[in-house]
């Protein structure tokens, strides 16, 4: 295989570029495929947005009139091409029910959902890594058992129930934060953040529980490796071994789960945004599905697909950062 040798010989940078290009091509193909599936599935489900808008007293002629106005009577293939073509030029179409561009709806909602998901992700990482380190360090002892028992509980408790408990404690009883709703970033950073605190905790805790367990088991596995014994044998303190040698090597499975969790967080926002009545992307999709505002559902789902693919790409690249050996992989 001479070509492989050339690539490797030309140094890590070119290899990295080739790797990146390949990943980008795969990502694009996934997007195209996803757009076909998303469009097909949503067009198959029964329900007519025009009839939904006009209700039970409107005549069939009127429904037909509105269908024409909405452009729903064009052939399926033509509508797909129109929609997918629009996506390429970042035109997401117009909402049937709101009759405003989908991108405007998304822009209003993403400023709620994205900060929420990012805060939850940060929160879950900040909780999970120390707990994982703590547990692995005390493998099999009381501290480990208690921490992992708590994590087990965190995995088992449904997040909407946990959310309601948080609301009763912090909003109804202590009145520290609002019970739900979102004042908008225009109302100031602090009121907006206050509205996101409980939802972020409700989202983060189950994720943190999973992540803590993964961190712990990855660490325990690494701690059994020979080089850890060597590091200890040469007189390095336990803490330094744990942080400098073990954690870094345990990062790959942790990063993988973190990437997967981002997708779960986006899905979890649908439930959490309903409980806290936050005007986020999850609520938008939920409402759009019940109103058969298909173009909104299709476009937002595609955006979410793109976001998940992008995060996975980032995770793949981060492997290379954590593990130098992967940088030169063809």
């Amino acid at each position: 295989m001479p070509s492989v040798w050339t690539k490797q010989d030309s140094g890590p940078v070119t290899a990295m570029t080739a790797y990146l290009l390949k990943r980008l091509a795969i990502a694009f193909a996934t997007l195209v495929l996803a757009s076909m599936v998303v469009f097909a599935v949503l067009e198959i489900i029964p329900g007519d947005p025009a009839r939904l808008m006009l209700g039970m007293n409107a005549s069939a002629d009127q429904v037909e009139l509105l269908r024409n106005q909405m452009g729903l009577n064009a052939p399926l293939a033509l509508r797909y091409l129109h929609w997918a073509g629009g996506l390429l030029s970042l035109d997401f179409g117009r909402s049937y029910t709101y009759s405003v561009p989908v991108i405007d709806l998304v822009r209003e909602r993403v400023v709620v959902s994205l900060p929420l998901a990012l805060i939850a992700l940060a929160l879950s990482t900040l909780i999970a890594i120390p707990v994982g380190l703590f547990s692995a360090g005390r493998h099999g002892r009381a501290g480990d058992t208690i921490a992992m028992g708590a994590a087990q509980l965190g995995v088992a408790v449904p997040n909407f129930w946990f959310a309601l408990m948080l609301i009763y404690l912090f909003a109804v009883w202590l009145r520290l934060v609002p019970a739900g709703g979102f004042p908008g970033w225009g109302a100031g950073i602090w009121p907006a953040l206050k509205a996101l605190v409980l939802p972020a905790i409700a989202l983060a805790l189950p994720q943190a529980a999973i992540l803590a367990r993964v961190t712990r088991s990855a660490l325990i596995e690494v701690l059994n490796e020979d080089y850890i014994r060597t590091a200890r044998a040469k007189g390095l303190p336990y803490r330094a071994v744990l942080w400098r040698h073990a954690l870094r090597n345990a990062m790959i499975p942790v990063l993988t789960i973190l990437g997967l969790q981002f997708a779960f967080l986006l899905a979890g926002t649908i439930i959490i945004e309903n409980v806290f009545y936050l005007p986020g992307l999850g609520r938008l999709v939920f409402q759009a599905i019940t109103q058969r505002d298909l173009i909104v559902v299709e476009s937002v789902v595609m955006l979410l697909v793109a976001a998940v693919i992008a995060v996975n790409l980032l995770v793949d690249l981060s492997y290379a950062v954590v593990d130098p050996r992967l940088r030169s992989r063809p």
Binding site: D48, R51, G181, Y277
Partner: protein, 492 residues
């Protein structure tokens, strides 16, 4: 321990400041379950549109009052010709739209003509079907000529779908509604809330509130903490199942009223074996309405025997026609040649009255030998499969439009019911405006539907309102789905 005390102190302080602020309040946050898709009452059937805008932002020639009565609105008075075909409306003068333009007879003509035009997508176009022409006599007088006398014309003009809009703003009302009402639209944070503020140049009696925010709280479980925390002060349409959680609390008033929602077990009258009268009657005998109301509506709701609200002045009590009687039901099935029972499907839309009621009805019908397969559907599916394509055996739904007994005479309606005698009564009713005659006709119509056991009549949907005990003036009943804030105020 010290932290604990601090938290408690902070909480008490928050409670105290919250309480003292109530005294001179002029703002109100109202919880609504569904967000309106847009803000134009003349272009959509969603009840949520009227819940925010009716009587608050938009006004019609007439309006519907808290108990379903027709009241003057933008028309201060009217005269009806002897043949019942010509209505001359005298309009209020000095009325301005929120954008500062004047309201006059031209706007009234524009609104009515727009709603009944060929390309109109008004969801209740039928309300305007009798209109032949609309003429402007002078800026304060508009004359409406009907093709035939119509008993319900003044009521029809009071619907949210018949409100008066201005030509300059009609096309943008979906996003920025401009009306003549006591409140004007301020902002809409999509997915979150809609805010109205007092209009300074309102023509009528001034309102007490300066600001009203309609906040979307979609989840019934979230509605209770929203009330308890004080974030939301009123839920005019509250989930009956959650009432127990706030009932004993002196901070809140729980108000049970009537709606125009006839909750029925709809039957596909053309589909065998439901085309047989005995089968439909057997179903009516098999239903135990009390058990259904207890299980599906927390015991709230009044049983009905035909398609009319017990709160309506023309109501006839026919609930005694088919008392719960399993033996009688079995006997009727035997007469129909179905002594071994049969299988059928029951399609259930999302509301809890349907989902919970469906389980109970399925078990009640099983007792007489009818084996139901329950199929849960979404609203969109329900409208598509049941309502439009009539692909169903049985379904449960609440018909919330007021005075809608005429739906049983509609051709091609999803009940698949066809009775010329009934159609004749409805046709006559449409031409009658004499109150006494209307009452007789409506009584006959109710009787026919009950005799034919067209559907299983269950109960009138209750309106469960929960709001702050210091709040006054919200509607107790829901003759139409609206949250009229014109008389709402805070007391000490």
């Amino acid at each position: 321990m010290k932290l604990w005390k601090t938290i408690l102190a902070a909480a008490t302080l928050a409670l105290a400041t919250g309480a003292s602020a109530f005294a001179a309040r002029t703002d109100l946050v109202i919880g609504i379950t569904l967000e309106p898709p847009h803000l134009d009452p003349t272009a959509g059937a969603a009840a949520a549109i009227d819940e925010v805008l009716y009587a608050n932002v938009f006004e019609g020639l007439t309006r519907i009052g808290p108990n379903g009565e027709v009241l003057p609105d933008l028309a201060e008075s009217w005269a009806i010709s002897d043949d019942g075909k010509v209505y001359v409306f005298k309009l209020h003068t000095g009325v301005k739209f929120h954008d500062g333009t004047d309201f006059n007879a031209d706007d009234a003509k524009f609104s009515l003509d727009r709603a009944r035009a060929d390309n109109s997508v008004n969801a209740q176009k039928g309300l305007f079907a009798a209109i032949d022409k609309v003429e402007v006599i002078d800026p304060a007088t508009v004359k409406v000529t009907l093709k035939n006398p119509q008993g319900s014309f003044l009521y029809n003009m009071g619907w949210g779908d018949a409100v008066i809009v201005a030509p300059e703003s009609a096309d943008t009302n979906k996003e920025k509604p401009i009306g003549t009402g006591p409140f004007k639209f301020q902002s809409w944070a999509k997915g979150s809330s809609i805010t109205l503020v007092k209009s300074d140049n309102y023509w009528g009696a001034p309102v007490a509130l300066d600001k009203a925010e309609f906040r979307v709280v979609p989840d019934a479980a979230a509605a209770v903490p929203a009330l308890l925390s004080g974030d939301v002060q009123a839920f005019p349409f509250f989930d009956p199942d959650s009432v127990a959680q706030v009932q004993g609390d002196p901070r809140f008033k729980v108000v049970i009223g009537a709606t125009e929602g006839e909750t029925i077990l709809a039957i596909n009258n053309k589909k065998p074996p439901f085309d047989k009268l005995q089968v439909r009657q057997a179903i009516s005998f098999a239903l135990d309405r009390k058990a259904i109301i207890d299980g599906a509506s927390a015991g709230l709701g009044v049983p009905i025997g035909s398609h009319m609200s017990p709160a309506n002045k023309d109501y006839v009590d026919l609930t005694g026609l088919y008392p719960h009687n399993v033996d009688k039901a079995k006997e009727l099935l035997k007469e129909a040649g179905l002594e071994n029972g049969f299988k059928a499907t029951l399609k259930l839309p999302p509301p809890s009255y349907a989902r919970l009621g469906g389980e109970i009805i399925a078990s009640q019908l099983r007792d007489v030998g009818i084996d139901l397969e329950i199929i849960p559907v979404e609203w969109a599916q329900w409208l598509d499969q049941v309502f439009t394509k009539k692909d169903y055996d049985l379904t449960i739904v609440s018909h919330t439009e007021p005075n809608d007994i005429d739906i049983y005479s509609r051709k091609d309606y999803y009940f698949n019911y066809d009775n010329p005698a009934f159609d004749k009564i409805i046709a006559e009713l449409n031409l009658t405006s004499d109150e006494a005659k209307r009452k007789t006709l409506l009584g006959e119509a109710q009787k026919i539907l009950a005799d034919d056991a067209v559907v299983g009549f269950l109960y009138e949907l209750p309106k469960v309102g929960v709001w702050d005990a210091k709040l006054q003036g919200l509607w107790e009943n829901a003759p139409i789905q609206a949250n009229d804030l014109t008389k709402v105020k805070w007391t000490d």
